[in-house]
C-alpha cells in the first residue's frame, strides 16, 4: 500500500501514523517526509497481512487523537507495481538564475517534452537567486544525450538561467568517500 499523509507539523506525527500501522501488523518498507512552511507531507510504502484492507487502515488512522487533522490518501498496489527497478543511469540537472515566475514549470516542461522523468527536485531561494537541483532518469528520453545537451544550451540562453546537466556519478564520487 502507498500511504500519503499531510498535516500541520508537530512532534509525534510519524510516531502516531507508524503506531497505527504497527497495530495492524504492517511493515514499513520505505518512508519519505518533508516539511515546508510548517506543513508536513509524508509518503510511505507499507505491506500488510492479507486480511488488512484500506478501510481498516483509514479507521486506525482516524482513531489517532490529534489536534490537527491528517489528510490521508491510500492506494492499494499489486506486488508487480511494488517491484520498481531503480534507474540505471541518473543525471543531475542544476538550474540557477534570478527568481521569477514559471521557473519550475519551464524546466519541468522541458523535461516532459523529451520524456525525461524527474525523480527528485529540490529548490532554494537565496538573495533573490533561485536554484533548482533535479535528479533525472533519462531511460525513456526521446533523443540522444548530445541532443539534450544542445537543447539545454538553447534553453539556457533563452531563459537566462544557468543550466547544467551531468551524470550523477560525478556528484557521488566528489562528495562521498566510497568509490562505487
Amino acid at each position: 500500500m502507498i500511504i500519503s499523509v499531510m498535516s500541520k507539523d508537530r512532534p509525534g506525527i510519524i510516531a502516531s501514523i507508524t503506531g497505527a500501522i504497527f497495530k495492524l501488523n504492517g511493515d514499513v518498507a520505505d518512508l519519505n517526509q518533508s516539511v515546508l512552511c510548517n506543513y508536513l507531507s509524508m509518503i510511505l510504502s507499507v505491506s500488510f497481512p492479507e486480511n488488512v484492507n484500506k478501510e481498516d487502515l483509514i479507521a486506525a488512522i482516524s482513531h489517532i487523537e490529534t489536534e490537527c487533522r491528517f489528510e490521508v490518501s491510500i492506494k492499494e498496489i499489486s506486488p508487480e507495481e511494488e517491484k520498481v527497478q531503480p534507474p540505471e543511469e541518473t543525471y543531475i540537472m542544476t538550474v540557477q538564475g534570478p527568481n521569477r515566475g514559471g521557473l519550475v514549470h519551464g524546466i519541468s516542461q522541458f523535461c516532459y517534452d523529451y520524456n525525461i522523468n524527474i525523480l527528485d527536485l529540490v529548490t532554494t531561494l537565496k538573495d533573490d537567486q533561485y536554484t533548482m537541483a533535479l535528479q533525472l532518469d533519462l531511460k525513456n528520453c526521446t533523443v540522444s544525450l548530445k541532443q539534450i545537451q544542445e537543447a539545454l544550451e538553447e534553453y539556457s540562453k533563452q531563459s537566462g538561467q544557468n543550466v547544467m546537466m551531468q551524470h550523477s556519478d560525478i556528484f557521488q564520487v566528489t562528495n562521498e568517500v566510497t568509490f562505487h
Binding site: T94, Q96, M164, I170, F171
Partner: protein, 460 residues
C-alpha cells in the same frame, strides 16, 4: 539524493573553475612489434597502435559527453623506442619516428610519447644511433615527443650521455628555428623517469608495464585557486585563517578533482577493455587565464612569483596535492605533484618577463615539486656545454632527493634574454630567461664518465 549545496559546489568546480581531465594516455607495449627489417617493424608498430587505439578518441569523447567533464587531451605512450629498435641505425630510428607520427594521425591524437631511451648507466651502440637520430626525427615529425632518462638515484648520472644532450637540444632547436626552436619543446631529459606518467613530453610505456594500460592525468590549478579564494573571502573570523587550513582546503579540493579523473579513466578503460593503470595527480597549468599554478603562489601570499617564500609555498602545495589525491584514487602513479612549466603558465611567464623569477629560483623550486626546469626558453646563444651543465644540476637534485626531475630547455635561435617566443596552443609563450655564467662549465662537462650514485641509494 545529495544535498543541493554539494551539487552546486560540484557544478561550480566544473563550470566556473576549469575542471577537466587533462589527459587520458594509453600506454602501448611495442616490444613484440620488432620485425626482421626496419620496414616490417614500422608496419607492425602502426598495426598495433591502430588495433588497440583505433576507437580511443571517439570513446574518450563519448565518456566525456556522458559525464559532462571535458577530456582535454587523448594521447599515446609507447615502449621506449631505443629498445624496440635495438640494432637499428640512425635512419632506422627516423623511419620509426615517421611511422609513429602516421599512426598518431590515423587515430586522431595530437601527441605520441615514447621516442625514448634509458641511458642512466651506460650507452649501447644502438643508444648512440638513437641519440644521433633524435634531432631529425623530432624536427621532421609533428606529433612525436622524445625523452631520455639519463640519471637515477640507484645508478647515478651518465655524464657521457649528458654531454651529448646540450648539442642534441641545440640541434633540435636550430632544425626548427622557423618556429622559435619548437622542436626542443618536444624533448625532455629525466632523472628517475616514471614508466607510467601520462603527461607529455615525458610519457613512456615502461618496460615493467602490461601490454596496454590507460593512465589518467588530472589537473585543475584553477579549481584549487578558486577554492582558496573562496575560503579566504568567506572566512568568518578575519585574520585568523592559517596556512594549515589553506593546506587542508587544497587537500580536499584535490580529492574531488582526482575522483573525477578516476571515474572518467575507469569508464574509458572499461569501455575499451584495457586495464586501468594510474591516476597522476599533477597540478599542470595551461596558458588559459585562470588555469595557472603561478596564480596560487600569489593567493598564498607572495606578491611576485619567485619572491622569498615561493619555494616554501610550492612545497606545501605539492604535499597537499599528493595527500588529497592519494586517498581519492585506488592507484596513484606517474609524477603526481605540482608542475611549473614556465611557457605553459601565463603567470609564471609574466614573472620571468618582469624579472621576479630567475632560473636559479626556478631550480630551487624544483627541489620541492614534480618535474623540474620545464618549458624554459633560454637565449639561442647559450653554448651546448652550459645547457648540459644546467641539466646536470637538475639531475643532481633528482638523484640526491630520490625524486623525479627533468629539464625541457628551449634555446630559441637568434633571440636573447628579454625577447619573446610563442608556440601557441598548450605549449604557450614567454619571455626568454637570462642564463648567467654561460660558457663557464665546459671543463666540467668535458670530463665525461659518471657521477656515482649517492650513498643513500645503497639500501640492500
Amino acid at each position: 539524493m545529495l544535498r543541493s549545496d554539494q551539487i552546486i559546489a560540484t557544478v561550480e568546480m566544473i563550470q566556473k573553475e576549469n575542471l577537466d581531465v587533462r589527459t587520458v594516455t594509453m600506454g602501448i607495449n611495442l616490444l613484440d612489434c620488432r620485425g626482421e627489417s626496419v620496414q616490417s617493424t614500422c608496419e607492425n608498430i602502426k598495426k598495433r597502435i591502430n588495433t588497440l587505439a583505433g576507437n580511443f578518441v571517439p570513446t574518450c569523447d563519448a565518456i566525456s559527453r556522458k559525464y559532462g567533464i571535458p577530456v582535454v587531451n587523448k594521447r599515446i605512450s609507447v615502449t621506449p623506442i631505443a629498445f624496440v629498435g635495438a640494432g637499428f641505425k640512425r635512419d632506422g630510428f627516423i623511419s620509426i619516428a615517421k611511422s609513429l607520427d602516421e599512426a598518431a594521425t590515423d587515430i586522431g591524437i595530437d601527441i605520441l610519447g615514447g621516442f625514448s631511451a634509458q641511458l642512466e648507466k651506460g650507452m649501447t651502440a644502438t643508444d648512440r644511433e638513437f641519440i644521433a637520430a633524435l634531432p631529425e626525427a623530432i624536427a621532421e615529425t609533428d606529433k612525436i615527443c622524445a625523452s631520455v632518462n639519463i640519471a637515477t638515484t640507484q645508478k647515478g648520472i651518465n655524464m657521457d650521455a649528458l654531454a651529448m644532450m646540450g648539442t642534441t637540444i641545440k640541434e633540435l632547436a636550430e632544425r626548427t628555428a622557423d618556429s622559435g626552436g619548437f622542436g626542443a619543446a618536444k624533448f625532455v631529459v629525466f632523472c628517475n623517469q616514471p614508466g607510467d606518467n601520462p603527461f607529455m613530453a615525458g610519457a613512456i610505456h615502461g618496460l615493467e608495464e602490461a601490454d596496454a594500460v590507460l593512465n589518467v592525468g588530472v589537473s585543475g590549478p584553477g579549481v584549487i585557486a578558486r577554492s582558496l579564494e573562496r575560503l579566504i573571502d568567506n572566512h568568518p573570523e578575519n585574520g585568523t585563517l592559517q596556512l594549515d587550513e589553506l593546506a587542508e582546503e587544497i587537500k580536499q579540493t584535490t580529492f574531488r578533482v582526482t575522483r573525477c579523473g578516476e571515474l572518467i579513466g575507469r569508464a574509458v578503460s572499461k569501455s575499451l577493455g584495457i586495464e586501468f593503470g594510474v591516476v597522476d595527480l599533477s597540478l599542470a597549468p595551461t596558458p588559459t587565464i585562470g588555469d595557472s599554478v603561478g596564480e596560487i603562489f600569489k593567493i598564498l601570499g607572495v606578491d611576485a612569483v619567485g619572491a622569498p617564500g615561493s619555494t616554501a609555498i610550492l612545497a606545501m602545495l605539492n604535499d597537499a596535492v599528493k595527500k588529497g589525491g592519494i586517498f581519492a584514487s585506488k592507484t596513484v602513479g606517474g609524477l603526481s605533484g605540482a608542475f611549473i612549466p614556465v611557457m605553459e603558465d601565463a603567470v609564471l611567464a609574466e614573472a620571468v618577463g618582469n624579472g621576479s623569477l630567475c632560473i636559479e629560483k626556478l631550480e630551487a623550486m624544483t627541489c620541492v615539486c614534480s618535474v623540474g626546469l620545464d618549458m624554459v626558453a633560454i637565449p639561442g646563444s647559450v653554448d651546448s656545454d652550459t645547457i648540459s651543465a644546467i641539466i646536470a644540476d637538475e639531475m643532481a637534485l633528482g638523484m640526491v632527493n630520490s625524486k623525479t626531475t627533468a629539464a625541457r630547455l628551449i634555446p630559441v635561435p637568434g633571440k636573447e634574454a628579454g625577447e619573446h617566443v610563442s608556440f601557441g596552443g598548450l605549449f604557450g609563450a614567454s619571455p626568454i630567461i637570462e642564463v648567467k655564467n654561460a660558457g663557464q662549465s665546459g671543463r666540467f662537462i668535458s670530463w665525461g664518465g659518471r657521477i656515482p650514485a649517492p650513498i643513500h641509494s645503497f639500501k640492500n
